[in-house]
């Protein structure tokens, strides 16, 4: 039996505010969003040990967004090298709904053009510094 609270991307909203620019929802025509947090570690296993021990170092996060290309006016604001605030609202925009927020550096902008298909665009970036709104935060 399926869990009643199984989550989907149906209400998912991602908003990006480039430095010096205005906030823009960038998921209106999206097909897939992915984010990934990873903690780096160093091996500190003593020479006499037979089981590995690691020490945590820095944690980072990157993300990617796939959208249909539809001449969106804001595409010029999501090119590589742009920095801004990325807000991820997995249940949509609304007071009390969850949000995570961080400063993002955009690194990749790729297009996939098929003769008999829609143009698809993938935007990738990574977090700069710490989360400004960590998992568990809600929208004011």
């Amino acid at each position: 039996m399926a869990a009643l609270d199984r989550r989907t991307g149906g209400a998912h909203v991602v908003r990006f505010t480039p430095q010096g620019g205005s906030a823009q929802v960038i998921t209106a025509d999206y097909t897939k969003f992915n984010d990934n947090r990873k903690l780096d570690t160093v091996d500190v296993t003593a020479g006499s040990e037979t089981s590995r021990t690691s020490k945590p170092t820095v944690e980072g996060m990157d993300f990617s967004l796939s959208i249909y290309g539809a001449n969106q006016s804001w595409l010029v604001n999501v090119l590589p090298r742009v920095q801004g605030v990325l807000e991820i609202m997995e249940d949509g925009i609304g007071v009390g709904l969850p949000i995570v927020e961080f400063t993002a550096l955009l690194t990749d902008f790729s297009r996939n053009v098929a003769f008999d298909g829609a143009v698809e665009i993938e935007i990738k970036g990574m977090r700069q510094g710490a989360m400004s709104k960590e998992v568990g935060s809600v929208q004011a």
Binding site: G10, A70, G117
Partner: protein, 144 residues
């Protein structure tokens, strides 16, 4: 208006607006061109064009409503050559052309012809030829 009716309306409008629309499709008594969805009215005599949904619908891959439908569009005539002429007209009017549809729908990729279709039927001693093709309609709706 539902999605399928919007597609039928778009195809019909496209066929009617094509400068090569064959005059044999004109029903003089009704002053209308015989292009029908689903089924031809019982009192209509061939030749006519008929379109039927084959498969498809909403594809639900993004927040924007998108359709991906395949519709069979064929010319029906008691004359095989006439049916072939209608099939060629349908091809020229639809293949790689966009549709103007009501309800906010619009093709985001031009209509593409897929497989061809031909069928011969004998009904009450009269031989009918249905000649045309399957057409793929991909549309989105920015109004909802």
């Amino acid at each position: 208006m539902n999605q399928l009716q919007a597609i039928y309306t778009g195809i019909r409008s496209r066929l009617l607006s094509d400068g090569a629309l064959p005059e044999i499709l004109l029903d003089v008594s009704q002053s209308e061109y015989k292009i029908f969805a689903n089924a031809a009215p019982g009192d209509n005599l061939a030749p006519y064009i008929i379109m039927n949904q084959i498969y498809g619908g909403q594809i639900n891959t993004c927040p924007v409503d998108m359709l991906d439908n395949v519709v069979r569009v064929v010319g029906v005539s008691t004359d095989g050559d006439e049916a072939e002429t209608l099939a060629q007209f349908i091809h020229m009017a639809l293949h790689r052309n966009n549709l103007q549809m009501p309800g906010g729908w619009s093709t985001y990729i031009p209509v593409k012809e897929l497989n061809g279709f031909y069928e011969q039927m004998t009904i009450q001693g009269v031989q009918y030829h249905a000649h045309g093709a399957y057409y793929r309609i991909r549309a989105n709706n920015l109004e909802n």
